[in-house]
Symmetry: D2
Subunit: 367 residues, 4 copies
Amino acid sequence: MKNTFGNAFQVTIFGESHGDAIGIIIDGLPAGIALDFAFIQQQIKKRQPKEKISTKRHEDDAIEIVSGFFENHTTGSPLCILIKNNQHNSKDYEALRYLLRPSHADYSAHIKYNGYQDFRGGGHFSGRITAPLVVAGAIALQILKSYGIQIATHILQCYDIEDESFASDEESLQKQIQSINNHTLPVVKEETAQKIMQCIQEKAQQLNSVGGIVESIILGVPAGLGEPFFDSLESTLSHLLFSIPSIKGVEFGLGFAFANKTGKEVNDCFYYKQGIKTKTNHNGGINGGISNGMPIHIKAVVKPTASIFQKQETVNIKTKENTILEIKGRHDPSILPRVCVVVDSVLAIGILDAYMQYAMYQQLSKK
Amino acid sequence: MKNTFGNAFQVTIFGESHGDAIGIIIDGLPAGIALDFAFIQQQIKKRQPKEKISTKRHEDDAIEIVSGFFENHTTGSPLCILIKNNQHNSKDYEALRYLLRPSHADYSAHIKYNGYQDFRGGGHFSGRITAPLVVAGAIALQILKSYGIQIATHILQCYDIEDESFASDEESLQKQIQSINNHTLPVVKEETAQKIMQCIQEKAQQLNSVGGIVESIILGVPAGLGEPFFDSLESTLSHLLFSIPSIKGVEFGLGFAFANKTGKEVNDCFYYKQGIKTKTNHNGGINGGISNGMPIHIKAVVKPTASIFQKQETVNIKTKENTILEIKGRHDPSILPRVCVVVDSVLAIGILDAYMQYAMYQQLSKK
Amino acid sequence: MKNTFGNAFQVTIFGESHGDAIGIIIDGLPAGIALDFAFIQQQIKKRQPKEKISTKRHEDDAIEIVSGFFENHTTGSPLCILIKNNQHNSKDYEALRYLLRPSHADYSAHIKYNGYQDFRGGGHFSGRITAPLVVAGAIALQILKSYGIQIATHILQCYDIEDESFASDEESLQKQIQSINNHTLPVVKEETAQKIMQCIQEKAQQLNSVGGIVESIILGVPAGLGEPFFDSLESTLSHLLFSIPSIKGVEFGLGFAFANKTGKEVNDCFYYKQGIKTKTNHNGGINGGISNGMPIHIKAVVKPTASIFQKQETVNIKTKENTILEIKGRHDPSILPRVCVVVDSVLAIGILDAYMQYAMYQQLSKK
Amino acid sequence: MKNTFGNAFQVTIFGESHGDAIGIIIDGLPAGIALDFAFIQQQIKKRQPKEKISTKRHEDDAIEIVSGFFENHTTGSPLCILIKNNQHNSKDYEALRYLLRPSHADYSAHIKYNGYQDFRGGGHFSGRITAPLVVAGAIALQILKSYGIQIATHILQCYDIEDESFASDEESLQKQIQSINNHTLPVVKEETAQKIMQCIQEKAQQLNSVGGIVESIILGVPAGLGEPFFDSLESTLSHLLFSIPSIKGVEFGLGFAFANKTGKEVNDCFYYKQGIKTKTNHNGGINGGISNGMPIHIKAVVKPTASIFQKQETVNIKTKENTILEIKGRHDPSILPRVCVVVDSVLAIGILDAYMQYAMYQQLSKK
């Protein structure tokens, strides 16, 4: 624990990759929402292995609604969604049971749970646990869409290959978002997709893996979301992003590029033209932890997949001997292509939770 | 709201810069702790304006314990601490009341609170609100010290000036931490302090401000802290860091430098030598959201102070007219020198909260 | 929502009586606990319909562990347990869909959820939702037993029939608890069981239902549990008890009998004899919201089952017409025989959650 | 801890009776509310000692707003309110420091906090801590009034004296509420006030104390408040009520009188007449944990004041010797006259918190 997140739109996650199923509870869904299952399937598909650059394991990811849904609408009661796991050959893992995989949760989880954790396939630490998050995210995205809010994420960088950054004007942004949805990989330019595919395949052949950066944009968020001091929008969104395995850095707006800038260079001056806007958006749509009506702009770094097929030095936790580990099985040499939809999903969960709290105070404040 | 953070060690913050006082409630302090007031004062002092490069406003920051402390020990009941504000001349602010300061919370807070927010000096969004956090952090640091845990933060970069990075070996680290505490500014090398002073003074003369990067290290954390899925140690620490005004990016270990690396280059291989350790620490002491016993290594970027004295374009929120703003008063051209102790403080709060939960499960798991 | 309860031992409940399954997530279980499935089954059986005085519907209540359990031990990750629902004939309910059943949640839920709630069999408001609580309670009871804590509940009163009250001495109490477990119904004296069976059958024949009182005792709780001000032990235990459908009153120790007493009559004087105890236990083991080491003594009143087969006046919520309702189907004329194990379960959940917090502070306070 | 309560309207309480001040933080107040200070003062006055039947100690209870209030309106930031304590003679308590007062928190708190608790005057367990609750309650009541919600509490029983119960029709109820506000004590009939005064004085002369029952009514609550399963309205209101020192039982509607009733006798049949109502209100306005639009009807029992001036047997916790205790100082022989406003206050806090969540879901559900 702690596997529950959110104040108004609250999700509780459970499951291990080699158990019967993984799943999620959503508590706090308004009643009467007709779920868009085609959209949910589309999002799930985005998270599934990509041809040529992913593990070949087949994942159905068929969802099963256990509760909270009746006559094609949400009921207001907790929505429980299960995704069955396929049968896995757990023997693969038994052989390496006591060999700590470098940069994995193996060691820290072993200590935390006194050796009782389900070690097969990463257990509760497996990337697979993000599949139900995508389902919850799809539902959140559907609701946000009805409020005019849109979220998109693409691979900005994969190893040494870079995609086009998000534009600063709405029209270009909309075109970019369309491209991301239509290309082979979630990138703005199709040629980047091809280069990234090639890069990942190359590293895979070298029994290696690569990292990269994903870039997100959230459009249509009204000014006023975020609950500082502690629940600043940056705080809650980063909280969610850092729960995604492999994410090791998060920045808003200019982020780390603020370091060698002056205030004069980066302050976002206000102007009035059919509403109050800022001329630039270096702060990435958030001031004082509260959305300011400009696009919310986020970047997150994804470390190279920890599972590589080269021999690595490690320790046998049982015998305490130094030894050599050779990981078998199927592992993506980069999760970048599949992580974008997960990032969209947690951002949607965070923004909807903030929106619901914002809506409550707006309503009561007017009285 | 939300001004409360933590599960076991829970803090609630309140106050505005121009009200009577600001303060904090700590709920969840174990009973029987003899507070080290000299240390608290020392920490408060670190946050106070630095000669030559800060605003000249005098801040006493004398703390007043309202509750939860008796016969020189914590009682187990909520500890409430107040810090009185000095008398401010609020008229300074009245003139600019409706002029939105660029990159400040003025606009987003105005919308969120329907114009009722206390606008003077940033109100609840003032950096001053971090003073009681430093007090709570000092208490957390004192308790963590008794568990063998140590936290240090220095200015790694200020505009184009860079300090020495934290070393990878314990001995060098301890020397660096000593240096940080003894120098004019929180930096490893005294010459960096001089350069940074000069840089900040220069920008101040240009009525400008600068950003930078702070680097933190947490030593002595046992393996096992962090409560994934959602309360991964990265999630809770970043949540706290992003609540500090001006912080726009957070990274752990290599952070954004993971982007163009391969798994082979950055995986942290385990070895056994009087305990299990990793040869490198690219993951910054956290695997799977749980501490792994290695030093926890964090960087955060601080944007240039939004308040600059040059003329800036903006909007009058009352008249909706585009206009020119000229900020008066006292504002630090860079908060880097003062923010380090705030970073130490929120990290201490987050680590102690995680430690208390870890201690609980360790104890019960053994039964 | 809100379907999550607890700080350290946290449960999240989901499901409707006519959906595929109901279930519960337990987050915060220490790792390494070997679940006692025979005991869980035994507890589930206690909640199942009793011959002659219950609905005849067959409930398997076979439990399915979805996650958090591996190699016969808890893993420290969330434990998800499902209980499949049998196939129900939902047409039964369609006919009465818009007729509000008196004293049921029909109307208040209709308004709250804008008519989208699952109305079949009470949906999320069905007593059936307490089945997974019994599973979680069984696990909590098993853990508490290892700490020397014991919980028992019996029917103290059913309509005009009264059982023997809990004794004040440990030895008699232990005998009473054994009796409760061995008798036809959860009562201290077998003759009461016979009378209650007769009473319930009689009322059933009259197409009516009856209420009553249950009495609980918690033995072996150390002094120090409870987190006042707001999480007094009375607060958290009553919070849980009042979430059980049909419970309309809760009292501790003398409870409402305190009303016409004087302090002299009811103060519990302390004495020392191999530890500090009180001569009487009018306060029911709790002083100032914190356990005092004496048995925790609670009574709760259960209203007569709202579903009765006599004709009742009501309103058609669709047409807004006054009309007559005649409920069909299977409904217990009294839930007293089945509710005792549910009461035991929520008390176990509450006590374990308090115990874990108590254990954490005890451990840290000693440092 | 835990001294924070609420999801949307969140209060955090702190302070001890012999510290400098006690106080409360309210987080989640909508911005722009002009506080009615005359009403706050009026409520505070209701909690102050009553002539002849109370301790003579003078309590100013002047409130001091530390934050969250500006230009006569709430700002949306946390409202911190302090109430200074008068100078107390703490030496009174030193003499009895190690003598456990029967039925007080002395022993349980001593164990919980390892002897470090502030023992003077009950410390954090003092009834005085309810004073800031009354301030928060007054603010909640003011807001609820603007939504058409009204709360009233009277002494229904004091020892063997009984007041008139709340009527079932709105018109009579309004007259009763007026009476309660105008009489010498919070009772419906002035003659009851006289009898209760006499009873309390009599018991006081006998160095004794008395218990009783308070009855509350909440009018104007729309159908739909309450968040089952766990946050049923009965759960959250009882949670708050049981945090008030001395309350040992809570019931809704018929409460314990349901025990010997049949469903036929007590089911509340619906009828339509300018809206859907129930003919009777045995369920006290709550069905399935959700308000049904009828008046919410609650009773709570208050145990006799534990502090009596007769000699009592007890234990010296330091020496572990059995001994005799003779309490000195000032203690109300009954808190009934003063507790009614505290009950009103916590009910207001609970209802407002539920209302805000209800308002949020209502708003979003309509989209």
